[in-house]
């Protein structure tokens, strides 16, 4: 029998149901893998007991002949942006260190209800702000991948769901939750050779997820393959009356609907994504992607998304603006860090001094940078020129997609402009870092379902991903196109264990 940690969501669920192994055995195998992978720094907190408890419940249910959930027996990692009752939830920030919620996020609760178990809380970019997992207060996550040049320079697992991507790629979690505000599921999935899907805005409840940019944030699964994503997304999604932006729609049977037969489907190739200076290997992967989809029966059509170049700058106004307000609650009054500096004369800090000191100490540089940008663009006299203009551009970007849907059913594009890069390489250049998400951000601004699927390894032996963007509510179309690529790409590479 293969090692249990080699199995993904579907294989574990089906194996547990069939009695090939127990959920407890699976949980133990993954707990051991987590414990042995400290070098990756993928987890902020491990919760082996939680994984065992959940597994024992599943085993007991099975023994009693009770129906098992769609994630029964599957141990997963939970991005530390989801509030988990009784388990520290930090958003990878010092300001929330030690915060233990008395509530469970809707999405994580849905997963537990579906029979999944928690291996621990996964590291991420602080408040999900970053593309390399270098902004975490709890240290960088190191990608399990290495360049095949023999050098051992640690690579970025992508961000902000870098703990999630690293854990899934390293086979220390069967799957993981991610959140995507401007690419934070798709970019790390692409960097680590795994799949990840951001559903239509509103599919997954945001209740209990530490907010970064409310109009963009969406949770989604990160897993080894498309089918696993379909299963896990099905468990995560659903209407939640506690989130007023939640979609009041039934959750489609995505797993059952999987098919790589794309006959009659049109795949749009947006010409504006062919940006100057894009790595030829990225362009090559894109060409291969077209061919695979053609092989699956789809018709390839050229489309235009004329406002693409404005998506990233618009995003870097809207997301920081919302963040500057969403993060105002971290003030040292009700939870988390509190700093009370005395002044030179020994006079105790006043309320406003406490705020300023707490936030100075509690937030990392990137978080501060974005709060300041957001504060600036919303401040008196600048609102129209920046925020309102960006929201108008967002309308134009959404309109571009709407027009495109008259010509195609799904869009194919690269996920990222480059493969993973060494940690530290872009850490001092915010703009260079932001460019990582240039292909991912437009779908976020338009609230569309979008997925990254591994396509190939580049010359350095690092994974490259392809992105599929679908119409609103059409996760199935995205998953199916992803499946068509997956089946034809034959991507079987995985990182060699060095940790």
């Amino acid at each position: 029998m293969t090692e249990l940690t080699e199995l993904g969501v579907k294989a574990i669920r089906d194996g547990v149901a069939a009695g090939d192994f127990t959920a407890r055995e699976v949980a133990e195998a993954f707990n051991a893998a987590v414990a042995g992978a400290g070098a990756l720094n993928a987890f902020i907190v491990a919760t082996p007991d939680k994984a065992i408890e959940a597994a024992e419940r599943v085993d007991a249910d099975r023994a009693a002949g009770r129906e098992l959930g769609p994630m029964a027996g599957v141990p997963i990692g939970m991005k530390d942006l989801f509030a988990t009752e009784g388990v520290q939830t930090t958003a990878a920030s010092h300001i929330l260190e030690g915060f233990v919620p008395r509530y469970e996020s809707t999405v994580s609760q849905n997963l537990w209800n579906a029979g999944a178990g928690m291996l621990g809380k996964l590291n991420l970019d602080q408040f999900a702000m970053g593309s390399s997992n270098e902004t975490s207060y709890f240290g960088n996550v190191v990608s399990p991948w290495r360049r095949k040049d023999g050098g051992n320079s640690p690579l970025a697992p992508g961000g902000s769901s870098g703990g999630s991507s690293a854990a899934v790629a390293a086979r220390i979690a069967a799957a993981a939750t991610g959140t995507d505000t401007g690419g934070s599921i798709r970019q790390p999935a692409a960097f680590t050779g795994i799949c990840g899907i951001k559903p239509t805005y509103g599919r997954c409840s945001r209740w209990g997820v530490v907010a970064f940019a409310s109009s963009l944030d969406q949770a989604g699964p990160m897993a080894r393959d498309v089918a696993d994503c379909a299963i896990m997304l099905g468990a995560m999604a659903g209407f939640d009356p506690k989130d007023s932006t939640s979609l009041d729609l039934p959750v489609p049977a995505w797993e059952a609907g999987l098919s790589d037969d794309l006959r009659g489907r049109k795949v749009g190739i947006p010409r504006e994504y062919r940006m100057e200076g894009t790595d030829p290997e990225i362009l090559d992967s894109w060409e291969r992607g077209k061919q695979w989809l053609r092989d699956a029966g789809a018709e390839i059509v050229d489309i235009s998304l004329p406002h693409t170049k404005y998506a990233l700058p618009a995003y870097y106004i809207i997301a920081p603006a919302e963040a500057s307000s969403n993060l105002a609650r971290y003030d040292g009054v009700r939870y988390g860090l509190r700093e009370l500096p005395a002044d030179a004369a020994g006079k105790a800090a006043g309320l406003q001094d406490m705020y300023a000191a707490t936030r100075a100490e509690g937030f990392g540089d990137e978080v501060k940078r974005r709060i300041l940008i957001g504060t600036y663009v919303l401040s008196a006299g600048f609102y129209d020129a920046y925020y309102n203009q960006a929201q108008k551009i967002r309308t134009l970007i959404a309109r571009d997609f709407e027009r495109a849907w008259a010509e195609c059913d799904v869009i194919l594009a690269p996920t990222t402009p480059t493969a993973s890069f060494p940690l530290g390489e872009k850490a001092d250049d915010p703009l260079a870092m932001y460019l990582n998400d240039v292909f991912a951000v437009p779908a976020s601004l338009a609230g569309l379902p979008a997925m990254s699927v591994p396509a190939m390894l580049n010359r350095d032996g690092l994974p490259l991903g392809l992105q599929l963007v679908g119409k609103p509510f059409d996760e199935q179309g995205v998953l199916n196109a992803g499946l068509a690529i997956e089946r034809r790409a034959g991507f079987a590479a995985k990182p060699e264990k060095w940790w």
Binding site: W207, Q391, I393, A398, P430
Partner: protein
């Protein structure tokens, strides 16, 4: 538009983030660079465009006027609300004395 150190200091104070002169000096050019870059949005003629309100067709749902119907959204859970407070006393959150 480039922002100078004084502007950054003002913004930082509005955002309640204490910053040393060094930090301000470091942050000002970074913010300037980002703001210069987002400035390109000004090229787009948006005079006929409405700002985005709801990205996916959906309208605001209203809830019934019920008290404590769901413990997750209702009250009567003082212990939970105070559990993580750095200074909780006599059922209150404590903060440095405020002079109004």
């Amino acid at each position: 538009m480039s922002v100078d150190q004084t502007t950054v200091a003002k913004i930082a104070s509005l955002a309640r983030i204490k910053m040393s002169e060094d930090e301000l000096a470091r942050m000002a050019p970074e913010l300037s660079q980002i703001l210069d870059w987002v400035e390109q949005l000004g090229e787009v003629d948006t005079s006929e465009v409405e700002p985005m309100t709801a990205v996916i067709p959906n309208s605001l749902r209203l809830r019934a006027d019920e008290v404590d119907a769901d413990p997750l959204t209702g009250g009567n859970r003082r212990d939970d609300v105070l559990a993580n407070a750095p200074a909780a006393e006599h059922g209150f959150f404590g903060v440095p004395k405020v002079i109004e």
